[in-house]
Amino acid sequence: MDAHASSTTRRDSFVPRSLLLSDDDVRRAVRRMAHEVVERVRDIESLVVLGLQTGGVAFADLLADVLADITSREVLRGTLDVSFYRDDVGQRPFVNSAASSVPVDLSDRLVLLVDDVLFTGRTIRSALNALGDFGRPRAVQLAVMVDRGHRELPIRPDYVGKNLPTSLSEEIIATVQGVWIGTRSEA
Amino acid sequence: MTYLLRHGLLVGPDAVRVADVLVREGRIAEVGDTLDAPAGATVIDVEGCWVGPGFVDLHSHLREPGREAAENIESGARAGAVGGYCALVAMPNTEPALDNVALVSYVLDKGARTPLDVAVAGAITQGREGRHLAPLAEMAALGVRLFTDDGTGVQDPSLMRRALDYARPLGVRLAQHCEDEALAARGSMNEGVLSSRLGLVGRPALAEELMVMRDIELVRLTGAAMHFLHLSTARSLALVSAARRDGLDVTCEVTPHHLTLDETACAGFDAHFKVHPPLRGADDVSALRRSLRDGLFDAVATDHAPHAPELKDRAFDEAPAGMLGLEHAGALTYEALGSEQCDPVTFFAVLSRGPARVAQLRASDRRVRHSAHGGALVAGEDANLTVFDPRSEWTARRDQLQSRARNTPYDGRPLRGRVTTTIAKGQLVVHEGKLQ
């Protein structure tokens, strides 16, 4: 049996109820966020876009593509896996890890973390810890496709694709193909 | 004391019948269909139970002198009594070994203070070192009828031949622990595919069989009598059976553990399953069981081998070999004989009458203060009786043993059949499964 096939990811048990954003909506939102980034960040050369494994990676790629398009410059991009930095290891279903790939020493860089859904904030806390092992960034900003509320830590995104107030029993799945709301099956 | 065993199934040497047994002044006073209880008699209802001659163990390591932390004669006798034993043969691998008259007398004296009869097997060689003969004649004069270096076999064939030549005119029997140490060296379980996978050095079946072959030929050469201890392979037994057909005076025993456990028990590296000879494969176990039912074994003997707990908590290859046996032997023999299919005549043949014959305990011996064992259950015999309830269902528990040691491999195993009453030398020693 393949190791990945045997793992329980949260997506396996997701039962979608309705589509909230289409793929076009998602692209428009990312494009808007890219413009906000350009407005706020003066030196795009120092920017490193890091997608959080695994849900943030596709958004980070899309965002970096759009940024490169708008600014006509190369945008450094990479991935960050926070499995080994979580403070709730052993308390939650085991999620398969994926590799971190940080293209440069982050010292004096502006790091833009990108994730699909911002929820409790614990993943971002872990990511901030992880970043420290790759250098000392000048500043760190956060872009998320969906902010669904229910923060457990004092963390606030800099760029938001869509604010979606949710109940705790609901699940959000955000991909570049669209955003769905639904519930998690007990199966 | 007077006891009336009411409505039990009396198991004679050849047949069974329901009857009452009256025990008075150390003897069976009367056997009959419905006896009146004399005044003052304790009446014990044993309906549905088997009543037979008290069990006799040919092979008990009582550890005294030298390793009293594991067991002593008194605790070993208690363990034996709850297991239904009325006589135990104490093995000589104590520290120092029972290789002279003084040490044998010491054990006999201690044994006489227990409710059971404790006989002694003397060492064949001095210090069980396999080099010089021990004073067999002096010990024989004291009443010793079995000699062995058990723990190891006598490795030197020339010395073994000399021992057999010397023993023949004394009318005693030599008993051999059959394992060629050169072949079995450093092994801690049966050699085979499992030992190879587990990375444990094996003791090959051939190490046992080779010595069985050798000793059969030595018996053929010398005409002496020989007993083969704890045979564990089908081939060993076949060799002994063939020798018997040739008219040689050879007897043999099997242990409860070789009848009820196989080598797969070692897969968890629990040293409680380490024993010499080792637990064998399932094929050998079923062959041994068949042979037991067919009456090819003279005795089931426990090889009761107590060890202090900390020694069994060592690594498998560093832990000592051996396991407890006295307290579960009845139930395990019942299982090996097929449970519901178990023939009570065979049951008492291998647990009492056979071993009593091998150990020459059939008649009482005033020199060593022994009563007679393995009788036919007729009036006038010494009252050594065991009552076994084949309906009883219970579970072996490590923390419920009379032995000082705890190294039973059967902890948690469901058992069928239990000794409820032991009358040894006319005294009620165990009643309703409990020591009196």
Binding site: A3, S6, S97, S100 | V193, L200
Partner: protein
């Protein structure tokens, strides 16, 4: 069979499915990346205590495990057995109870007796036990790092990451294991790992250095060593365990070298792509010639460096995982 070592002991590879093995290999690949960083440390086992109990000294394995534990931010308790009460005849149960009383989450254990790690796992069921080599039985992390190294090398040749190739590169792979199989826990773990992953395993050894019984083992014994060398994609040379009395199993070391040593002449029969492995420490000039050990196709140093990420993966999965529904 065990389908994942998450939250479980790692005692033997005999009972692991290919999926369980691949999970460790894939996780180790992530730790390779961590080991390439300037700061080679993640907080995955922060606040956890890993005891390293080496009843049999092995500086290399011990360092590898302790480095792995420290790179996961675990606290490492290291028992110096030579100066401890173990030598005074203390039982395994008492030794582990003493260490456990200090509050530990995992124990990494090396012992000269087969099965010692199994026994300890029974004495302290709440502690995760990682077998770092027990007698002649198993050395699971060595088997895992050998498989990991083979996949890494083969994947590089097709410009892929090992994890992207999954089990594919092992299917039908010809693995030849040479030398003292009888006394080798490494061989037992290697055979289990390679065969679970779909490789074809053959062993070459003098009759005395084969296990007493090979019935049912997933391997065949080669008749002609020289021919087998041409057949092999991977040659795993085993250390001749002289400290275990192997000396009396062969007439002389020179005869062993003559018949089963990987000499320069023999190595000429190997294809240039054939991977040469040795678990170390090598008896140069006995089971392997110095010049052969230094060939480009020899990956002996890479085996050593892969030890740390494999052991990080084993500790991480075993200590932080939960063992639900992971057996077949």
């Amino acid at each position: 069979m065990i389908t994942s070592i998450r939250g479980r002991n790692l005692l033997t590879l005999d009972e692991l499915t290919s999926g369980a093995i691949l999970e460790v290999l894939d996780t180790a690949e992530l730790f390779v990346e961590v080991n390439q960083r300037t700061i080679k440390k993640v907080p995955a086992l922060k606040g956890r205590v890993v005891a390293s109990l080496f009843f049999e000294e092995s500086t290399r394995t011990r360092l590898s495990f302790e480095t792995a534990a420290k790179r996961l931010s675990a606290d490492v308790l290291s028992l110096a057995v030579a100066s401890s009460s173990v030598k005074k005849g203390e039982s395994l149960r008492d030794t582990i109870a003493t260490i456990d009383a200090l509050g530990i989450d995992a124990v990494v254990m090396r012992h000269q007796s087969s099965g010692a790690a199994h026994q300890v796992s029974g004495y302290v069921p709440h502690v995760r036990v990682i077998n770092a080599g027990d007698g002649l039985h198993q050395h699971p992390t060595q088997g895992l790092l050998d498989a990991f190294t083979v996949r890494q090398v083969l994947a590089e040749r097709v410009h892929a990451k090992g994890s992207e190739t999954g089990q594919d590169l092992f299917r039908g792979l010809h693995v030849l294991i040479v030398g003292d199989v009888r006394h080798s826990r490494v061989a037992r773990s290697d055979i289990a790992a390679y065969s679970a992953l779909g490789a074809e395993v053959r062993v070459a050894a003098p009759g005395t250095l084969l296990p007493a019984c090979l019935d049912g083992w997933p391997l065949s014994v080669v008749e002609d060593f020289d021919e087998a060398l041409e057949w092999a994609d991977v040659v795993g040379v085993l250390r001749l365990q002289r400290e275990r009395g192997t000396g009396s199993f062969v007439p002389s070391l020179s005869e062993f070298t003559e018949t089963y040593g990987l000499t320069v002449e023999r190595a000429r029969r190997l294809r240039p792509s054939t991977i040469i492995m040795h678990p170390g420490p090598m008896n140069r000039g006995v089971e392997i010639d110095s010049a052969v050990a230094d060939l480009p196709s020899a990956v002996i140093e890479r085996q050593v460096s892969n030890g740390v990420p494999i052991r990080m993966a084993a500790l991480y999965l075993s200590v932080t995982g939960t063992p639900e529904e992971t057996t077949l």
